[in-house]
């Protein structure tokens, strides 16, 4: 039995997993359209690689990775590209992002898939393959996996597979492990190779005995070595990467340090599975397991193609009529979807249909009574009641001093608060305010620099001009030694004199110019026109005369 370690705090919210984990993973009927965002991963948005109206095969790249930190996006099925435009995406902000709309042709025709032996491939090839297959972290962070599969100094000893799935309601990893354990382990082997790691630890919360048994059986059946499936205590947020690493290895990943610097790398089991399908079967990441639960008639896990609109997905699980909204992710850290039209993305592990019965609104918040239940629950050993105080008072400096940025926003503090204070929101507010201020300060610094430089530049140009003029004068003086004696004997008068001359010259020049731009329609006129003008002028003169005599009586 492996010695397990503890992290501070944690809570035991009702798990609500049995609703959806008693049925196998079901396929979904292809929807009428797929809205596939090009930015489903951390890093640069993928660049559209198709045109509107183009036919694509299942698995064809429709978005190519841009820059170092990016990932490819693929057509989840075969069909026609209907649009490439800004659409609402599954993001808490509700802001639109670049999406490709694909109308499935329902043939589900694959691109040619190549089965390869990963042991014959170089590490670089493998990483390129993962990047082009769009493999990103499926635990929710969607960080491009190829970027995490480096081991510069062979420092990594342990690969942790995260299958804790500590959030209530979610069972997608549970079902994946029950049904596809062998592939997960194969993927983990590739990852171990890329990281030069020694052992693999698979952490599964002990409320998933079937998954633990399936994985253990697969370890034996696949003759895997140095892989251990570890049952960890069910305690939210035990699936936080730092928390799971702590529980499994005792290592406390220091603030501001990557776990790899302490010899551990961590991946979600779904990522290992996706990596294996990409490498061994040539299947890019086109779908994922999504738990559809909550206020639905048939809560279940589905294998959902990316881009599938939420409303079509929940309809297949038997959506109940009194649904008030949808949570993407779990109830502790998930967010409410801005629309039911948005497509499933790589980060979508769970869709929970909400109803007032399942998720009753929290009572109004009371003042903090400093009971410290939040501090007792905090897995980061923070003092949320102090952070709340500072955030509320906008005392951001103090909030940072109390390590606001070590908060992982797991929501345990809000969950236990007897005053029902939305603590996490206060912390998110404070964090974004601090980011804003830093951004503003940087912008102000840049503006000041620019302004200072401009002042300096103007001053410098003035000086340079003056110097140039002075040099010219000198040259002119040197070239014309015969000058009126007054000028020669009085050097002070010289510039004044020349200045006057220059003014005179400028006036002359202006006159010439003015003369040059005289009304052009008086030139080159015919004789009749001249006669007409003369007539008009005469008439005007007469009128002027009459007017004069009317207004001013002639002086006697």
């Amino acid at each position: 039995m492996r010695k397990l370690f503890k992290f501070h705090g944690g809570v035991h919210p009702p798990t609500n997993k049995t609703q959806s984990n008693d049925k196998p993973i079901a396929p979904v009927a292809l929807p009428s359209k797929l809205v596939i965002p090009l930015h489903q991963h951390v890093g640069n948005c993928a660049k559209p690689a198709v045109e509107v109206g183009q036919h694509v095969f299942k698995g064809q790249i429709i978005g190519t990775p841009e820059g170092r930190l990016s990932s490819a996006v693929h057509a989840s099925t075969s069909g026609t590209i209907a649009a490439i435009d800004m659409q609402q995406v599954a993001h808490p902000s509700g802001l639109p992002d670049l999406c490709i709309t694909l109308i499935p042709d329902l043939k589900d025709e694959w691109i040619p898939r190549e089965q390869r032996d990963w042991r014959a491939m170089s590490h670089t090839e493998l990483r390129h393959l993962l990047r082009d297959a769009g493999v990103v972290g499926l635990g929710g962070a969607v960080f491009p996996s190829d970027m995490k599969l480096y081991s510069s100094q062979h420092k990594i000893t342990t690969l942790v597979l995260n299958a804790a799935e500590c959030e209530p309601w979610i069972t997608c990893d549970d079902l994946l492990m029950r049904e596809r354990a062998a592939d997960i382990l194969q993927g983990a082997e590739v990852m171990r190779e890329l990281l030069y790691a020694n052992e693999i630890l698979i952490g599964i919360e002990d409320n998933k005995p079937e998954a633990i048994a399936a994985m253990r059986a697969a370890v034996v059946a696949g003759k895997h070595e140095r892989i251990e499936v570890v049952a960890v205590p069910t305690l939210y947020p035990g699936g936080g990467a730092k928390q799971l690493i702590r529980v499994l290895t005792g290592i406390e990943v220091a603030a501001g340090v990557r776990s790899t610097d302490m010899g551990v790398q961590c991946f979600n089991v779904g990522t290992a599975y996706g990596a294996w399908r990409a490498i061994a079967h040539g299947e890019p990441l086109l779908s994922r397991i999504v738990t559809v639960t909550g206020n639905v008639g048939k809560p279940q896990n589905f294998e959902v193609p990316f881009g599938m609109p939420i409303d079509e997905l929940v309809a297949q699980a038997g959506l109940l009529p009194d649904t008030t909204g949808y949570i993407m992710g779990g109830p502790m850290m998930g967010f409410r979807l801005p629309s039911t039209q948005v497509g499933v993305i790589k980060a979508t592990n769970c869709i929970i249909a909400m109803s007032d019965a399942l998720f009753p609104p929290a009572p109004p918040a009371l003042p903090c009574i400093r009971c410290t239940r939040c501090a007792e629950a905090c897995p980061a050993d923070l003092q949320p009641q102090e952070l709340y105080w500072f955030s509320k008072a906008k005392n951001f400096g103090k909030a940072q001093e109390y390590h606001l940025f070590d908060c992982i926003e797991c929501g345990a503090c809000s969950y236990v608060c007897p005053s029902h204070i939305p603590l996490v929101q206060y912390f998110q507010f404070a964090k974004s305010e601090i980011h804003m201020r830093e951004h503003d300060k940087q912008a102000a610094d840049r503006a000041r620099e620019r302004h200072d430089y401009r002042e300096y530049r103007i001053e410098r140009e003035k000086q340079e001009k003056a110097e140039r003029l002075a040099a010219k004068e000198k040259a002119a003086l040197a070239a014309k030694p015969v000058e009126p004696p007054v000028v020669a004997t009085n050097p002070d008068a010289a510039p004044e004199n020349t200045a006057q001359m220059k003014i005179q010259a400028a006036i002359d020049h202006a006159r010439e110019q003015a003369a040059a731009v005289k009304p052009k329609n008086t030139e080159n006129l015919s004789a009749e026109q001249l006669a007409e003008i003369a007539e008009i002028e005469a008439r005007r003169a007469r009128i002027r005369e009459i007017a004069k005599s009317d207004v001013e009586p002639p002086k006697e």
Partner: protein, 350 residues
Amino acid sequence: MAAFFSPFISKPDNVAQIMLRVMLALIPGIALYVWYFGPAILVSIALASITALATETAMLKLRNRPVAPFIKDNTALLTAWLLALSIPPLAPWWLVVVGTAFAISVSKHLYGGLGNNPFNPAMIGYAVLIISFPVQMTHWLTPHGLGSIELTLLDQLNYIFAGTLPPGVTLDAITMATPLDTLKTQLHLDRSMQQIMDMPIYGRLAGQGSEAIALAYLAGGFYLIANRIITWHIPVFYLGSIFVTAGIFHLVDPAHYATPMFHWFSGAAMIGAFFILTDPVTSPTTPLGKLVFAAGAGFLTYIIRVFGGFPDGIAFATLLMNICVPLIDAYTQPKVFGRKDPSGKIGDSR
């Protein structure tokens, strides 16, 4: 409409329930109180409760705060109960009313209401009363079975509200000094500790009756800890501090200094340890801070009890330690996850 931001679920717990559980934990002690000293305490508790609710409502209205959510949080009631249990049950009605009204209005609402008061309101109420009305605050009843005369409920009500006793009964006949006070006085009279402890007022551990009530409070305290309403830190270190301080004095001079047990079960030590010092609003928030706070309060309680001029030390010890809470909190911040490296280099690199 359901919540808009995570977490979308919350523990079925609230301030009102917490306070209610604390009041529940007081009930065994109150029951024994009634058994030993008659029903007068219930009158005090009722008076204090009504005053507290009325004052709370008035203050909330004056402060333009919603009345309903705050009046239902049970905090004013708990303050009232704790204050009523701290003053003599036979105190005149206005004493209870003045103390409670002051506690709620000045020490709670003038500082910003729930969650913002730096001092324990019940102890402020007690302090105001003991300084302003020291005579009325010493009319402690003789426990059941010790006095020659026992008052009926009607007699007690008559005294509380009208200040009249049944004919032929003097106040001295029905009241007496507390065990703590008696000890102090008798020691001044150069009686030996053994002689004093043999007096009928004393029981096995401390005072007759009061020791049983203290035991009931202790049981209530265990209930609170078991139900995670409070943590062990403050009670254990408060009682521990009293034990150690009293133990040292007792070991050095047992003839003049009572046993640690006596101090545990006398006066308000037990109710203080589990119900008063553990008030979350006025005690430190960090685990280490709670220990420092409790140890300090225990030491001060003993010093004030034994060398001070007041019948018990808990109120002033609490208030003095309340003053130190911000300082204690600031200096006892626990290490944050990922910043526990003793060298401090890795964690603070940011």
